[in-house]
Symmetry: C2
Subunit: 343 residues, 2 copies
């Protein structure tokens, strides 16, 4: 199979997925052509996943890799309060997986998530790589004019919310790095379920597309970011860009139950994971007290939790733990830092 | 410098470039936000360049690499007849170049070309890579509704045109692979100029943005593609998608003068290079005989040449060479083929 046959295959597959009513030209020409919805703003995000840095081939599957590559960009578009519409996938693969089921399964993972959130694959690029697989996923979304939620709008007095639960992806990464895999053989059934749960949160994160759209459409959030680097780092981004401080209440953090279950025996610290573990891909947002009461109880089965308050910038970013209040440093993941991890 | 400082640097740099009148949110949030021009269609292209496959670090410079990464996507958008407007850059870099001038120079190359064609950098991603540099450039363009030029519109009787000259990029690649570099020391001054010319065509291609826009705005082309794989392959793409054949006249091919000058002594076959050498990034397009006479003589100093005629599909794709007519096989570059090159 040469790359032109491959592109035809993918093109044919896309026809069985998505909504082509606003797609003038999908895969198969020099570029994709889209008819944007009149009066909407366009939101665009690109996310690069690189083998050996962002994932290990031995720790994931082609399907989960495809799924995650789209998930991380969907999460970015959700964090703007926009509705994801179209995607492009730039894929660099090694010769050993070319022409194998690996690529079909990778695209199956992409389509699985694209179908779930009504996203249509319209383009991308395919290249050979010498030794490491590379995926760049690009998602285009739309939102009403002026409805986009940036990182700059938080105000002192706003409440800080987070969707879903925290810490599981970080726990999954740490266990994965120690060799844990999703298998049926473990010490106890309950522990097995908890290990599988955190591994899956790391390998197959769920972007909070529904919450992003609700918050955007109703203008319920004053600022928003998705938790990719880690709560502490991402909160610092909001506070820096909004010129505010913040107080987080440790007791209110919605730590994932599987993380709590695993904590003692696996030497995983739940609070550290919730604060600094990256890739939870939950939405962190702020709302005025008036809007906080208007928040829906749940969207797509996912609840939100109030974890703190935005304060004046001279207060800094702080953590209330029991009777103590500590400065909360940005401790999330950085690609280029002395402690940069390779997964 | 951590990646957040880096992103701030790039964000500050973008402010000195481009047009932010329709950019609601540029670099520095979860996603870019754009206000599309009312009534226009959106054209999107992504192109992945990978070290060791698409370029050698030893054969190019950071500035030229940045420039080329944008050029290839601009060329795709031009090939749709659209005006490029915005760009995103996903960059994976190795630890040894992080924090060095390499990245600044790469972005300088990107901005150089972006400024030339009125394109504004609005987003992207940054990642670490284990050992190979990776660049995915994404360009968004706009065109009037119904004005996009696809590969499907060629009709028997249409004339086939190509912008600029052919074969120089392929010659540059071959000389580069033999160790040729842009230096002041060569056998003769004239030969040096020719070698530099073909090396630069390979390392620093010029997208035909002006021609693309003229052909799109005036609807002068019935089909169009950019020459990335090579004339023979790209012509086959048009003929397949338009369900036609084609006859190319070898004598009319605008072979680059530098290729002709170098041909004998360097064992470079000008006709082979013009037909099958990839990455010329010229535009190959077809026009009805009526529209052919309406073509401008030159755009941005670049002329076009009529090189053949679209025929019925049962004629196949053929080459007229002197008194003989041969079948013209697709012989351009493929990433996954027995003869796939690594640069």
């Amino acid at each position: 199979m040469n790359e032109f046959d491959f592109i035809k295959r993918i093109k044919n597959k896309t026809r069985m997925h998505g909504d082509f009513s606003q797609v003038v030209q999908g895969i198969g020409d020099d570029a994709a052509v889209i008819k944007p919805t009149s009066g909407r703003q366009l939101v665009v995000s690109a996310d690069l996943l690189i083998e050996g840095i962002d994932f290990l081939r031995s720790a994931t599957s082609a399907r989960l890799l495809g799924r995650k590559s789209l998930a991380v960009s969907l999460s970015d578009v959700a964090a703007m309060g926009a509705k994801p519409r179209w995607a492009l996938l730039s894929l660099g693969v090694t010769e050993d997986v070319w022409g194998t089921e690996f690529i079909d399964q990778l695209y199956e993972g992409v389509f699985e998530l694209a179908d779930k959130y009504g996203v249509t694959l319209v383009g991308g690029d395919t290249s050979r790589t010498p030794d490491k697989i590379v995926v760049d996923s690009i998602v285009l979304g739309e939102c009403k004019e002026g409805a986009v939620i940036s990182r700059t709008g938080a105000k002192p007095g706003d409440q800080i919310f987070v969707t879903g639960t925290l810490g599981a992806s970080g726990a999954g990464l740490r266990l994965s790095n120690r060799g844990a895999r999703i298998t049926p053989v473990q010490e106890t059934e309950s522990e097995q379920r908890a290990i599988d749960a955190v591994l899956m949160r790391h390998l197959s994160p769920e972007p909070r597309v529904g919450w992003g759209m609700v918050l955007g459409q109703e203008k319920l959030a004053s600022s928003m970011i998705d938790l990719s680097d880690g709560l502490s780092s991402d909160l610092h981004h909001i506070c820096e860009d909004s010129n505010t401080g913040a107080l987080i209440r440790a007791l209110d953090l919605p730590i994932d139950p599987a993380v709590v279950e695993l904590c003692g025996r696996r030497a995983l610290d739940p609070l550290q994971l919730a604060l600094h573990g990256g890739e939870d891909f939950e939405l962190l947002f702020t709302t005025s007290p008036a809007n906080a009461s208007r928040l829906p109880k749940r969207v797509d089965g996912v609840t939100v939790t109030c974890i703190g308050t935005i304060e004046a910038s001279d207060q800094g970013v702080r953590l209330e733990e029991g009777l103590r209040v500590w400065p909360l440093e940005a401790g999330g993941y950085e690609h280029f830092a002395a402690r940069a991890k390779t997964v």
